[in-house]
C-alpha cells in the first residue's frame, strides 16, 4: 500500500470523530470513547508516517489526483511527520488527563457535549497545518485550530475566561488577516501559493519584493508563535483556561507558528537576509520571556512566560539556517512540546491539591503530595537544561550548531541561551521550593488591596484541596516518562532529526517530489512547462510583472 494514502486520514479521522462525538451530545461515555479512539488512531497513523517518511523520503498526496501546481498537495517530510506524532501523543495524553478531571468533577467545569468535539477539531487543525503543501491550505489549517481554540479558551464562559478570550481572539484575528493579506501579495507577485512552485518562482522577484513578502509572512506567523515583540498576548490569555486546555495550547499552538516559520524560511526564502534579524529576535524573546517569568507569582503565568522564552531557542535554531541548526530545532521542538505540556499538566494537579496556583498561597506540598513534587521536579530540571535530560541535549545541539557557524551573532546567542537556561532553572526552582519545600501556612493570605482584586488568580478565594484521580496523575506521569524517554532514545531521535535537518536546510530536497512529478508530466506531454510565464492548461493568470504591487 502506498503510505501517502495515510496523509489525509490524519485530518479526516479527528474531523469524523468530532462529527460522531457531536452526534451523541448526551452520552458522555460514548463521546469519550469516540474521542479516545480517534486520537489513538491518530497516534498510529502519525507513527506510520514517521516510519514511512524516513524510509521512502518525502510523502506527497495530491488530493483528487490533480497534479501539484493546480491541485492541493499534502506533503509530509520527516520534520512534519515527527511533529504530527508528537502532537498526537500530547493530544492523547492531555485527553486522558481531562477525562480524569471530568470524571472527578462531574463535568462541572467543562460542558461535556462541546469539549470533546472541539478538542478533535483542534487536533484536525493542527494536523492540517503540518501537512499543508501550499500557503492557503496552511491558512485554512490555522483557522481550523484557531476557531477551535477560541471555543476551548472561553469554555464555560466565566468572566475571566471571556476577558482572556477577547484578547486572544482579537490578536489571532489580526494575525489571520495579516496572513491572508500576505497570501494575496504572494499570489499577486508569483501567481501561485503552492510552496514548491513558490520556491522556484520567488527567485525571479526583486530582492526588495522578496524581503517584503518574507517579513509580511513572518509577522503573521510571529504573532502565532509568540516571538518577542508579538508575544504580549500569550501570558495574558493562556493561564485562565482549564488546565488541560492550557497544557495542549502551550504544547502545540505556538509550535505550529514555529513550524510555519521554519517552512517559509527554508522552502520559500532559503537565503533570506531576515535570518540575521531572526537571530536577534530569538535573543530578545529568550531574555524578555524569562525576565517576565521571574517576576510572576502565579505558576501558570510563570510557565506561560517560560513558554514564550523558549520559543526563542526554536527561533535560534531556524535563524542559524544550517543542517545542524535545523536538526537541533527538530529535536528541541519535540522536547519542548512534551516538557511544556507536562509542566502545565502538573500545575493542573497542583491546582487541585493546593487549591490555588499562586506561589504566595501554596506551601508544604512536598509532605502532602510527594508524587506531584517529583512530577514537577523532573520536567523542571528538563526544561532548565540539566544533564542528562532532553533539554540539555537539545540546547547542546543548538549551541554546537551555532558554534559551528561561528558568526559573532551566533556566539552571542550561545551566551544568552546558556544564561536563559540558568534563569529558567532559577524561576522554576523558586516555584518548586515555594510550593513544595516551604512549610505550609507561610503563604500570605490576601488582605487589603489583594482582597479587592478578586479576579486576580492570586487573590481568588482558595478552593479546598480536591482529590487527584488516578487517571490524571497517571497521564501526567506518562508524559514525564515520555520526556525521560527522549533522553533514553536520544540516539535514534537525534539521528532522525539530523536526517530531517538535512532535508529542511535544502529547498531542492524539499521540492524534489514536485520536480519528479513535473518530469512525469513533461514525458506524458501534459503541457505543463513549469517555466514561469509560459502558462499551462488552466488559465492561471500569473501576472508577469508582479513586482509592482498596489500596496
Amino acid at each position: 500500500m502506498n503510505p501517502s494514502a495515510l496523509i489525509p486520514l490524519i485530518v479526516l479521522v479527528p474531523l469524523a470523530g468530532a462529527a460522531f462525538a457531536l452526534a451523541v451530545p448526551h452520552k458522555a461515555r460514548a463521546q469519550r470513547g469516540i474521542t479516545l479512539g480517534a486520537l489513538g488512531l491518530m497516534v498510529l497513523i502519525a507513527a506510520t508516517l514517521v516510519w514511512a517518511s524516513d524510509v521512502h523520503g518525502t510523502l506527497v498526496m495530491e488530493v483528487g489526483g490533480w497534479a501539484a501546481p493546480f491541485g492541493i498537495a499534502l506533503v509530509v517530510d520527516r520534520f512534519a511527520a515527527l511533529l504530527l506524532l508528537v502532537s498526537a501523543i500530547v493530544l492523547f495524553a492531555v485527553l486522558t488527563f481531562s477525562i480524569g478531571q471530568g470524571l472527578a468533577d462531574g463535568d462541572e467545569e467543562t460542558p461535556v457535549s462541546i469539549f470533546f468535539p472541539t478538542y478533535l477539531v483542534l487536533a484536525a487543525g493542527v494536523s492540517e497545518a503540518f501537512i499543508a503543501g501550499d500557503l492557503f491550505n496552511l491558512y485554512v489549517g490555522f483557522e481550523i485550530l484557531l476557531v477551535a481554540s477560541y471555543v476551548l479558551l472561553t469554555l464555560g464562559g466565566t468572566g475571566p475566561r471571556i476577558r482572556a478570550g477577547v484578547t486572544y481572539i482579537v490578536v489571532s484575528l489580526v494575525s489571520s488577516v495579516l496572513f491572508l493579506v500576505s497570501i494575496a501579495l504572494v499570489y499577486g507577485a508569483t501567481g501561485t501559493v503552492n510552496m514548491a512552485q513558490l520556491s522556484e518562482r520567488i527567485g525571479d522577484l526583486s530582492a526588495g519584493m522578496q524581503l517584503f513578502l518574507n517579513v509580511a509572512l513572518l509577522v503573521a506567523f510571529g504573532i502565532k508563535a509568540a516571538i518577542f515583540p508579538l508575544s504580549f498576548w500569550l501570558p495574558d490569555s493562556y493561564p485562565t483556561a482549564p488546565a488541560p486546555v492550557t497544557a495542549v495550547f502551550a504544547g502545540l499552538l505556538t509550535k505550529v507558528g514555529i513550524y510555519a516559520i521554519a517552512r517559509t524560511q527554508t522552502l520559500i526564502f532559503p537565503h533570506s537576509s531576515v535570518n540575521e534579524l531572526l537571530l536577534w529576535l530569538a535573543g530578545l524573546t529568550l531574555v524578555v520571556g524569562i525576565l517576565g517569568a521571574i517576576a510572576q507569582l502565579d505558576i501558570k503565568r510563570l510557565l506561560s512566560f517560560t513558554l514564550v522564552s523558549h520559543i526563542g531557542y526554536l527561533l535560534f535554531g531556524i535563524a542559524l539556517n544550517t543542517p545542524l541548526g535545523y536538526a537541533a530545532t527538530t529535536y528541541y521542538i519535540v522536547h519542548h512540546i512534551i516538557v511544556q505540556t507536562t509542566l502545565f499538566l502538573v500545575v493542573g494537579l497542583i491546582e487541585r491539591h493546593g487549591g490555588s496556583t499562586s506561589l504566595a498561597r501554596l506551601g508544604g506540598m512536598l509532605r502532602t503530595a510527594p508524587l506531584v513534587a517529583v512530577l514537577f521536579f523532573i520536567p523542571m530540571l528538563n526544561l532548565g537544561g540539566i544533564p542528562p535530560f532532553s533539554g540539555f541535549i537539545g540546547k547542546l545541539g543548538l549551541f554546537t550548531a551555532a558554534a559551528e557557524l561561528g558568526t559573532p551573532g551566533a556566539w552571542w546567542l550561545i551566551g544568552i541561551g546558556a544564561l536563559v537556561s540558568l534563569l529558567t532553572l532559577y524561576a522554576l526552582a523558586r516555584a518548586w521550593s515555594l510550593a513544595f519545600w516551604r512549610p505550609r501556612g507561610e503563604g500570605a493570605t490576601p488582605t487589603g488591596v489583594l482582597a479587592r482584586l478578586q479576579d486576580a488568580p492570586d487573590a481568588a478565594p482558595q478552593r479546598e484541596s480536591r482529590g487527584m484521580p488516578k487517571l490524571m496523575v497517571g497521564s501526567t506521569a506518562g508524559m514525564v516518562v515520555i520526556s525521560v524517554l527522549l533522553t533514553v532514545f536520544a540516539g535514534p531521535l537525534v539521528a532522525y532529526s539530523e536526517r530531517a535537518g538535512v532535508v529542511l536546510e535544502d529547498a531542492d530536497k524539499q521540492t524534489s517530489w514536485y520536480d519528479e512529478h513535473r518530469v512525469d508530466r513533461e514525458i506524458t506531454g501534459d503541457g505543463s512547462k513549469g517555466d514561469h510565464g509560459a502558462e499551462a492548461p488552466t488559465p492561471t493568470a500569473a501576472p508577469a510583472g508582479g513586482t509592482e504591487d498596489p500596496s
Binding site: 485554512v140 476557531v147 471571556i162 477577547v166 481572539i169 494575496a184 507569582l297 487589603g448 488591596v449 486576580a456
Partner: protein, 162 residues
C-alpha cells in the same frame, strides 16, 4: 497587471476604518472592524487576480479571456471563515454583556496585570501584609467594589500595561 484605482481606494478605506474600529475598546466595534478588515482582505485577494475577464466556466469563453478563478476560490473560503468567526464573536459579545450588565461591553482589564503593575518590587519571600498595605499606588484607586477588576470610573485604563 493593471488594477482599477477605485477598488484599491475602497480596499484602503476598508482597512483603515476596520483597524481603527478594532482599536476601540467596545466589543461590538471590534466586531464591526473585523468585518471591514475581512472584506478589505477579500478585496485585496480579488485585486491580485490580475486582468479581469469573463467568468471562468468551461465552455463559456476561451481560457485567455477568463478571469483567474483561484483568487475567487480563496475569497469564498475566507468569507466562510469570516462568517463563522463573526458568529462566534457575536456569541462572545452577548456572553460578555450578560456577565456584567451594568458595564458596557468593553475589553476589561487584566486584574493580574494590574496587580503586578501596582505591586512595588517583587513580593516573594517578603510577601507580607505590611508591605502590601504600604504600597501607595493602591490607595489612590479607592476601594470601590470588591469584585470589579475595572474601576467604573476608569482612572487609569492603561495602568495595567505599564
Amino acid at each position: 497587471m493593471t488594477v482599477p484605482l477605485i477598488l484599491v481606494i475602497a480596499m484602503v478605506v476598508l482597512f483603515a476604518c476596520g483597524f481603527t474600529l478594532m482599536l476601540d475598546r467596545g466589543l461590538t466595534r471590534i466586531l464591526l472592524g473585523f468585518l471591514l478588515v475581512g472584506n478589505g482582505a477579500n478585496l485585496m485577494i480579488f485585486l491580485m487576480s490580475g486582468t479581469f475577464g469573463h467568468a471562468p466556466i468551461a465552455g463559456e469563453s476561451t481560457p485567455e479571456e477568463m478571469s483567474d478563478p483561484l483568487p475567487q476560490a480563496f475569497i469564498l473560503t475566507s468569507i466562510v471563515i469570516t462568517f463563522g468567526v463573526s458568529a462566534f464573536l457575536l456569541a462572545l459579545i452577548y456572553r460578555s454583556w450578560r456577565l456584567d450588565r451594568e458595564e458596557v461591553d468593553v475589553v476589561s482589564d487584566d486584574a493580574h496585570d494590574l496587580e503586578l503593575a501596582q505591586t512595588a518590587g517583587l513580593p516573594l519571600e517578603e510577601f507580607t501584609d505590611a508591605e502590601l498595605t504600604e504600597s501607595s499606588d493602591f490607595d489612590d484607586d479607592g476601594g470601590d467594589s470588591a469584585a470589579a477588576p475595572v474601576p467604573h470610573d476608569g482612572p487609569q485604563p492603561d495602568g495595567g500595561r505599564r
